[in-house]
Assembly symmetry: C2
Homo-oligomer: 320 residues x 2
């Protein structure tokens, strides 16, 4: 037993799995454990399993609670971090769950809670692609568009639960339907879901296009790679889909820069596997359109590096 | 002479006038003085006049510098507040002007600098409509759309100069041209300039409309009141202009709420003289469209109360 607190515990709570990790001072996950969320139970049971998973992974690695400085949870949904409450999380079917209060029944540590996208952003700042920066915006291009804001190496959430929802900024008012109930959100143009939707439409409108060949004539096989593959082979319809996607993603990023003017913009999610094919035109786009142009600082747009670990690493650092 | 520092000095620097005010502890301007900016001179001359105006108003009121806690400047343009530099201000014709360094040659006080819209927001929080709140977004509907962000009773500017430009968030990508070089900015839909543009268009498209009667058949006489007057008298074209204006303003405000989730949203500028005719439908709009709906906190939208004094009062409080 030692009194040195060399470890932190991060929990990535998802609709399917609860992932627990022990993070050391070099921001590496030295041990982890995953259990099923089984979200359709009473929340007290889910949180009991969460506590058991933490205690299990500690025991497995021979680390005691007294060696841990803090525990943090990244949760989907709308989070009241000040009070440790999940206000609303659709994929957990939770409303007003006092998650930290419940978890403290089992584990005695300083605890923090934030939205999963915010945790991922903080993870990249403390231990990933943005380690040399204090201020970062991270945009995760997945089923939706997740946004995380880190200012002065701390998560920025706004005044009340329901802030930092960067995916739900309309960029085309009255445009494509968004799951949030509005039309034209950033998410409705820049998520992988939106990219696939637009690729399917283009395939149908252009029967001659390579988009149809690449999916073997079955548009249900189209994924987020299809339009890039077609574009790289010179397919006009594929190019148009990719150019539009980059344009709207650029619009959303310029908006974020004009508000937060961060040191860096991080992108994550499968679409980022396109690498510089995606980031080069985006960097050119924002250089052209950010407010005050090159008279003001224009942040680089780079890829996040931690992948799925970012959420655990960031959650572990919520408590300072 | 006393050592009690009961006063603060606020300066509202504009393209036409430099307004200096002494602010007391109850956040009232107890004395003020205004001089012409005459911006086409060397900046050192402008700043010398600024210093003289400060010393003049102090002498006039019999308050010594030693009774003043701090001095703050609200400037138009893109501001590097950390280094006290006006990076770029079109209506001053300034680039990279080290305003605080220059002013300190004449006045020995702790000094702060911020964008004028941010100062106005802070003014309303320390001494105006938002005194009971810690977090506020203020949107000024004038020639452009100015945005000010106050979090924890402090101005929030983002990481680098050129943040907090809330007017330059595209809400209709590819839409109306904006002076910033993009198309479809919030400003291009919600400024008084945009309202007048849309009213003129409606008057031309609907020769039978009251819009044409109200301007005596001369559309150049149309102002920001015209569409509201027509709408209140039941004119269909006027109603459509007002409804569209409120819709886009609502879109912009929902975007701000989804990012900052403030305690309150303040509106200022001449259009706000419409009072609840403007704010009632806006409050209804954001209740419907903010992320997570009524499960999350939805801030009230209210009118700012300090008018042109907000900038001086806020500037005076930049230094804590």
């Amino acid at each position: 037993m030692t009194n040195e607190k060399n470890y932190r515990i991060g929990i990535d709570l998802g609709g399917t799995n609860i992932k627990v990790g022990i993070v050391d001072q070099s921001q590496k996950i030295i041990a982890s454990h995953s259990v099923k969320t089984l979200a359709n139970r009473d929340y007290t049971e889910v949180i009991k399993d969460m506590a058991d998973a933490v205690l299990f992974v500690l025991e497995k690695t021979g680390i005691s609670l007294s060696e841990c400085k803090a525990l943090g949870i990244g949760s989907p949904g709308c989070i009241d971090s000040k009070n440790g409450i999940v206000v609303f999380a659709g994929n957990l079917n939770w409303e007003h769950v006092p998650i930290l209060q419940e978890l403290k029944k089992y584990i005695d540590l300083p605890m923090g809670l934030s939205n999963d996208a915010n945790c991922a952003a903080l993870g990249e700042v403390v231990g990933g692609a943005a380690m040399e920066y204090d201020n970062a915006i991270m945009i995760t291009l997945g089923t939706g568009v997740g946004g995380g804001i880190v200012m002065d190496k701390k998560i920025f959430e706004g005044g009340h639960a329901g802030g930092a929802e960067l995916g739900h900024i309309t960029i085309v008012s009255g445009g494509e339907y968004c799951t949030c109930g509005r039309h034209g959100c950033f998410e409705a143009y820049s998520s992988a879901t939106a990219l696939i939707r637009d690729t399917k439409r283009a395939a149908q409108q252009h029967p001659e296009s390579l988009l149809n060949t690449l999916c073997n004539g079955n548009i249900e096989e189209i994924n987020g790679i299809t339009p890039f593959d077609a574009a790289k082979k010179g397919d006009a319809a594929g190019k148009e889909v990719v150019e539009n996607y980059i344009k709207y993603l650029g619009e959303g990023i310029v908006n974020m820069v004009n508000i937060f003017r961060p040191d860096v913009v991080l992108l994550s999610g499968g679409v980022c596997n396109q690498g510089t094919y995606l980031t080069d035109p985006l960097n050119a786009y924002i250089k052209k359109y950010c407010f005050a142009g090159e008279r003001a600082f224009i942040p680089p747009i780079i890829r996040a590096t931690l992948g799925n670990d970012a959420g655990i690493i960031g959650a572990a650092s919520i408590v300072e």
